[in-house]
């Protein structure tokens, strides 16, 4: 077997190795990587910085992958020399490794502009996972950060730092942001959007020095301005790493020169990725690297034939809420520009048409058509027939139609180069039904991830048994997982549903996402959010449960199921006065008045003089109790008082789904505490606190959370679980699904066994939410708007 040595464990090198492995085995492969990590998705570092993904989530090839493919992996070793006579490479660990074939995938490094003081502590590049980790360590509220460079990477770094709480300024040498991808108009729209996010943008300003005493304290500009800076990120472009190629005597211009078969001037040395120069172009984006890898794999394995002819350059800015796309040649020289812009909405689109074909595209503020334009660019489609509709496609009514309109050859994943036809083939031939299976089968959507929703749409339209992955999105209106959304709302300090929909969604919302977002905002801001009743289900607008005939049911709170003759008389009087068609004892030890008209609700509540039992909402329902020690011969604990106290502590609060509780005085369990969301089970000398029980659609025995000696300790354990469920469960996830999903061990670790500070945090946020909550039925006396409960009476009635 020939020995193949790969220098560089990044995306280009490893993707090329993946392609080589697809050919018949002929190499013993060694991969050198100077970073200490397995191959990860460098494009997604900005989303790690922004907290949208964890470092683990961007791993592309696991250690097992290397082992399973018999690849010798040398991590943390930098190759410092190549001897092309002896055919050896030398590592900085002193090792010398022989090769028969050498593959240089050395990538590129951050360009260091001529600025004084770059060596100061607090100055970073933004190229590697280690850079990112260091930035994460330093970033935080109150930290002033300056990013030098307003290109793709600089802007993504700026946004990430800002999400972490930093005050961020971007200093850009040129007059236009992302000037390699945007024209001056597009750049100014982008600058406006960055400023709207709270990031200061200084254009046409040259940086001269990083000042400070040992560590960075400020950034000095040519005009004499000094910007305060605790943290400086230098993102002023990249330079191909060609040092080793020089040493090997291979021909080098700006990058390592390769021909269309990806060969260098040395027959045994090949190169791929950002370090190469092909037909005078060095590429810094991922799609070209993968295309090169395929051609190189054919050449290097003796299947020389396919050629690489260059790639249509396309770039997408990966900042949530700031959509920017640029592709091809958008200069207006010898081209016909087609533009659309709307300052108020922040939308700018420009296409350039040359000889009846699309030459380039710039999209800011709305990139939904980028796939169509990429398709036209790659295929060279003649656009004469569609000339009047270039910027306005006929609206598609559903995602399935969008998919149906796409040709089989249309590229879906530009990074890896996967077509619609290839995805459909994988679905049919390999039984792919989920996005993760699709990723495994085709690698689609493993690059920048911007085609994820398109891949989902194809799966939805084609796969016979389509399933959303575990991290499924809330809904099509805001395509993020609920975990993700909670993080976004927190970090972006969003306080209203419309704001979230406008920035992260389609601006409209629906009956699925609006109530979910309403819940999240209320929970995250402990009630200090902008409550929007239009985003709530009708039950939460009028605080009663809508029935099949449009009337409502009213269930007053009867804590612990303990009432009094006076209360019962008032309930009976109300039933008479409003001709209530049915009065029913519920399964929850309460009384339900059914068939109340919406307009009567405020008076019914006033006449009852009792608080809302929240029987209509995803909130705290009740605590069912047994008679405990007061009357029962067997009772060991005062379950009635404990239950009433628990109900008082939680009532009026919203929860991800309804929460039903119970408290029993002995293990005979008369109030069925072991099939409730939270149960207190009294026993001799203490309590068992159980959680995650169910006796509804599912039947599940609750898990034991903890055993404690005092009632107060039992209540505190219940509080910890209650708030933990509020903060971590998905909307409409009952405790029994939640506990099963996480496992009771994890729940215990994060609640009753959590460190003191974590427990105190849970209790504090619960108290804060509780303090901001109120009995919803008080709105009967002071409605949130004058027509909350009453229909409109036309000002003018028809003449009879």
């Amino acid at each position: 077997m020939k020995r193949l040595v790969v220098v560089g464990n990044g995306m280009a090198g490893v993707a090329c190795v993946e392609q080589i492995l697809k050919h018949s085995p002929q190499f013993a492969i060694t991969v050198f990587g100077d970073e200490t990590h397995v191959n990860y998705n460098r494009i997604l570092l900005s989303s790690v910085l922004a907290g949208e993904r964890s470092a683990d989530e961007i791993t592309l090839n696991t250690l097992e992958w290397y082992q399973n493919n018999d690849i010798r992996l040398r991590l943390g070793v930098r190759v410092v020399d190549v001897n092309s006579e002896l055919k050896t490479v030398s590592g900085d660990d002193g090792s010398v490794t022989e090769y028969d074939t050498l593959l240089l995938a050395t990538g590129s490094s951050a360009f260091k502009p001529p600025i004084e003081g770059l060596e100061r502590d607090g100055v970073f590049a933004f190229r590697t996972l280690d850079d990112t980790r260091q930035l994460l360590d330093r970033a935080g509220p109150g930290v002033n950060a300056v990013v030098i460079g307003g290109g793709l990477l600089g802007l993504e770094a700026a946004r990430g730092l800002q999400v972490r709480g930093c005050q961020v300024t971007v200093v850009h040498l040129m007059a236009t942001l992302m000037e390699r991808q945007l024209d001056p108009d597009g750049g100014s729209y982008l600058a406006g959007k960055m400023e709207d996010l709270g990031i200061r943008v200084l254009l046409g300003r040259s940086t001269t020095a990083i000042v400070g005493n040992g560590h960075a304290e400020g950034v000095a500009l040519e005009d004499g301005t000094i910007l305060e800076a605790d943290l400086v990120v230098v993102a002023a472009g990249i330079r191909p790493n060609v040092e080793l190629a020089y040493r090997a005597g291979v021909r080098v211009n700006r990058g390592i020169v390769v021909n269309d078969w990806m060969e260098t001037s040395d027959p045994d040395i090949f190169a791929v990725g950002e370090c190469v120069e092909h037909r005078g172009t060095c590429y810094g984006l991922v799609a070209p690297l993968l295309e090169q890898g395929k051609v190189l794999a054919a050449t290097i394995t003796g299947n020389k034939g396919p050629i690489y002819t260059g790639t249509v350059q396309a770039a997408k800015l990966k900042i949530m809420g700031v959509d920017v796309f640029s592709a091809g040649d958008w200069s207006e020289q010898h081209a016909e520009p087609v533009r659309y812009e709307d300052r108020a909405l922040g939308i700018y689109k420009k296409l350039t048409v040359r000889d009846g074909k699309l030459a380039g595209a710039i999209l800011v503020g709305d990139t939904s058509d980028s796939h169509r334009y990429m398709d036209w660019l790659r295929s060279g489609t003649d656009l004469t027939a569609q000339r009047r509709h270039l910027l306005f496609p006929p609206p598609a009514s559903d995602a399935g139609l969008d998919i149906a309109q796409m040709s089989e050859g249309a590229t879906i994943c530009g990074c890896v180069g996967v077509t619609k036809g290839a995805i459909i083939a994988a679905i049919h031939d390999k039984g792919v039904n989920t996005l993760s299976q699709l990723k495994d089968a085709t690698r689609a959507s493993t690059g920048c991830g911007s085609c994820t929703s398109l891949c989902q749409d194809i799966l939805r339209a084609v796969a016979p048994d389509f399933e959303e992955d575990g991290r499924k999105v809330l809904c099509g209106c805001v395509p993020f997982s609920q975990d993700n959304l909670r993080e976004i709302l927190r970090s972006q300090r969003l306080k209203s549903v419309q704001e979230v929909l406008a920035i992260y969604g389609n601006g409209l919302g629906c009956e699925v996402c609006k109530p979910a977002l309403s819940y999240m905002l209320d929970m995250i801001w402990c009630g200090d959010h902008d409550e929007d009743r239009s985003a709530r289900f009708i039950n939460d607008r009028v605080h009663a449960n809508i029935q099949k005939d449009g009337t409502f049911s009213v269930v007053p709170r009867i804590r612990g199921g303990v009432t009094s003759p006076a209360e019962l008389r008032r309930i009976a009087d109300v039933a008479d006065k409003y001709h209530v068609p049915m009065v029913k004892i519920t399964g929850s030890q309460r009384i339900d008045l059914l068939g109340i008209r919406k307009e009567d609700l405020p008076r019914v509540w006033a006449d009852l003089g009792m608080p809302s039992g929240q029987a209509y909402t995803k909130g705290v329902r009740m605590v069912k109790t047994c008679v405990g020690t007061d009357f029962c011969r067997f009772g060991t604990q005062d379950s009635t008082s404990a239950g009433i106290e628990m109900e008082r502590r939680f009532e009026h609060l919203y929860t991800p789904h309804k929460v039903k509780m119970a408290s029993v005085g002995c293990p005979r369990n008369c109030a069925e505490a072991t099939v409730k969301d939270i149960g207190l089970v009294g026993q001799e000398g203490g309590w068992q606190v159980v959680v995650g029980g169910a006796a509804g659609k599912s039947v599940r025995k609750a898990d034991l959370l903890i055993t404690v000696e005092t009632t107060e300790a039992a209540l505190e354990a219940a509080e910890l679980f209650f708030q933990y469920y509020r903060e971590h469960a998905n909307y409409l996830e009952r405790t029994y699904d939640f506990v099963e999903r996480l496992g009771i061990d994890r729940v215990r670790k994060d609640t009753v066994y959590a460190p003191e500070s974590a427990r105190a945090g849970l209790l504090e946020r619960l108290q804060k939410s509780k303090a901001a909550s109120h009995d919803a039925w008080l709105e009967g006396q002071s409605p949130v708007n004058p027509t909350q409960f009453i229909p409109l009476l036309p000002i003018e009635s028809l003449p009879s």
């Binding site: 629906c510 109530p515 028809l798």
Partner: protein
């Protein structure tokens, strides 16, 4: 058919609906932020009060069984492939008052 003055615009909060009794018929009027739309206040499925639904773009979702009705056309958008629809009414605003043609 004539235009009937219903109520001041502010009687209906943004993205909510309200019922109005017009000539013995219940009409659901919605405030979409930039315009008002009106349809019969009866879901074609089981007569649910559409005025109590959540607004999703230019459609409303019935609170009883989540049928989705387009407020511009009156057509049922979900479930798909069935032909029921609700009657729509023209609306306009005059001097801060919503008018419905009925």
């Amino acid at each position: 058919m004539r235009w009937i003055r219903i109520a001041p615009c502010e009687s209906i909060p943004s993205r909510e609906g309200r019922a109005a009794l017009v000539e013995g018929r219940e009409i659901a009027i919605f405030n979409l932020g930039d315009r008002f739309l009106a349809v019969d206040n009866r879901c074609p499925h089981q007569s649910g009060p559409l005025c109590d639904g959540i607004v999703a773009g230019d459609a409303v979702v019935c609170p009883l069984h989540a049928w989705k009705v387009n407020l511009e056309t009156g057509a049922v958008a979900r479930p798909v492939n069935q032909n029921d629809c609700v009657r729509t009414y023209a609306t306009r605003v005059d001097a801060g008052v919503i008018l419905v043609e009925a």
